[in-house]
């Protein structure tokens, strides 16, 4: 049962990753693409981590996976901001 639930989570996460990638490819400018990518991919990773925790079984692995997810969220939130500011400064110069 937990394995089935886990695989459902993983399949659902793929939809988010796909949305992120399509957004990155199709949206008109850097800021819009940034927004699509970081939001969708972090949610996708969260679902995937939840699925992997259910499938992988033991507690230590689950804790590590959770740590990875929190770290990615924190880092990509700041990285997204830094890239957006970088893009804005370039916009002012040109």
């Amino acid at each position: 049962m937990t394995e089935l639930l886990g695989s459902l989570f993983i399949l659902a996460s793929l939809a988010f990753f796909a949305a992120g990638s399509i957004g990155l490819l199709r949206l008109p400018d850097v800021h819009a693409r940034l927004h699509a990518l970081t939001k969708a991919d972090n949610l996708g990773l969260g679902l995937l981590v939840a699925g992997a925790c259910l499938i992988g079984g033991h507690l230590l692995l689950a804790l590590k996976l959770l740590l990875v997810w929190l770290l990615v969220m924190f880092a990509s939130a700041i990285a997204a901001n830094l890239i957006a500011r970088h893009a804005m400064k370039d916009g002012e110069e040109s």
Partner: protein
Amino acid sequence: MIDMDTLLLTAAVLLLVTLITGLVRALIGPSLQDRMLSIQLLGTGGVALLILLGLLLKIEALVDTALVLALLAAVAAAALTRRETPHD
């Protein structure tokens, strides 16, 4: 009902396809920031792929690799966006 490994492997392939789709943006650009975004994409998507590979190949240490990749993606973002010093 298909077995777990096939399902995870299919998920890994599909994930890689979405990563490739996103990376097209890195190749066509046009701006430098678009290319930086592709590193963000490979960072998050790479962590996801490492977790899947860890489950598939039964190597738990790949979760450690995912942790390191997440940390270094942050270092890369900081290095990429740091502007010049005033008198350099």
